[in-house]
Symmetry: C2
């Protein structure tokens, strides 16, 4: 978070099939029940312009997209999302839950695709307007297991894809080790409900909520 | 241009209504007649992905686009254009004519909209892969006159828009003054044909063409 903002910014990160979106949704439902002023968004997207950019990123025709072009499109979508939605919501004191944020670019484009970390860091600083998550969850799952949960691989695993996803996972683990205060690494080896309990514990502490009040 | 490239890269710059696109087209026709291996592209665009990004930039629904988002979209389109088209064309020895390039971002987003020059420079270095124009024409016209030629203003001139376009023009003039070897500032106070003669003079010198051979 940056100066002059009274809300809290919480991001959900992790590789494919880690269950991060499910956990984010459960937190959203939980905070709504607790009557917290909460906003839930996904990246890339969240506002009209960023959703339009998302479509380009997901369009199968653009298979030859360069790594730098891809990185810049994610950053463009993020610049708009921060300005239009995240910064104003934090200013008015809301809890902003974001399914992916800048750490995804470090993990996927940086660690995964070899885009310069310095390039990502410099652009990231500008587009986020200095806003950093107060709390980030990284859901960590064995790569093969995660990919099989998404249905993206079946019997035969493509080795190149596996190596790529392993680099992404390794990147997330390294970031979590470097910033243990902000980033909570959560091993996905329990039930959805058990993981949510751990996540809520961190959120209750951050927001000063009484854990016993609501199941 | 960068190491390992044998072609020549020529860009056409200038504010609205300066006639730069017309001059670029005339040069293209001229070089085709002279049997030079020539490629003509416009920015943003030139390849499928960049044209898709162009559509976002021109879409009137996106009036609230932030300056940083806009800059990043131009840069994303440029990254793809350089990788897919400009770099390969220069490698095989072509003359590449480009209607706008990185200087436009300095002029419009930098000087015009106040985006950090350092931000533009750092991203520009990466997306251009170090490829710089061998020759750049900046067509310089009085702002009001240029705007009236585009039909974008009629009787009443919006002062804020005029100030913006004056900043863009001033930026171009400053860049030309800083790099007189690469950038040729051409005052638009002559006929289209007279201006084309001046432009061809520079191009003939760059490409080692005999000026007398063809009218």
């Amino acid at each position: 978070m940056a100066v002059g903002m009274s809300g809290k910014f919480i991001t959900f990160e992790g590789s494919e099939g880690s269950g991060k979106s499910t956990q984010a949704r459960l937190v959203y439902a939980y905070l709504r029940k607790r009557k917290a002023p909460v906003v839930f968004i996904r990246e890339p997207g969240g506002v009209l312009l960023s959703e339009t950019i998302r479509k380009i990123l997901l369009d199968a025709r653009h298979k030859n997209m360069t790594n730098e072009c891809e990185t810049l499109l994610y950053m463009a979508a993020r610049a708009q999302l921060v300005e239009e939605l995240i910064a104003p919501a934090l200013k008015r004191g809301a809890v902003v839950l974001c399914d992916r944020f800048l750490d995804s670019t470090f993990a996927y484009q940086g660690f995964g695709n070899g885009v310069s970390m310095d390039f990502i860091k410099k652009i990231g600083k500008v587009v986020t307007q200095g806003i950093r998550p107060d709390l980030t969850f990284v859901f960590d799952i064995d790569t093969k297991k995660g990919l099989s949960r998404t249905g993206k691989i079946k019997d035969r695993i493509e080795q190149r894809a596996l190596a790529y996803h392993n680099r992404v996972r390794g990147g997330y683990r390294r970031m979590a080790a470097n910033e243990p205060g902000r980033i909570k690494l959560i091993r996905v080896n329990k039930t959805k409900e058990e993981i949510q309990e751990i996540v809520r514990g961190h959120i209750n502490r951050l927001l000063g909520l009484n854990p016993g009040r609501l199941k």
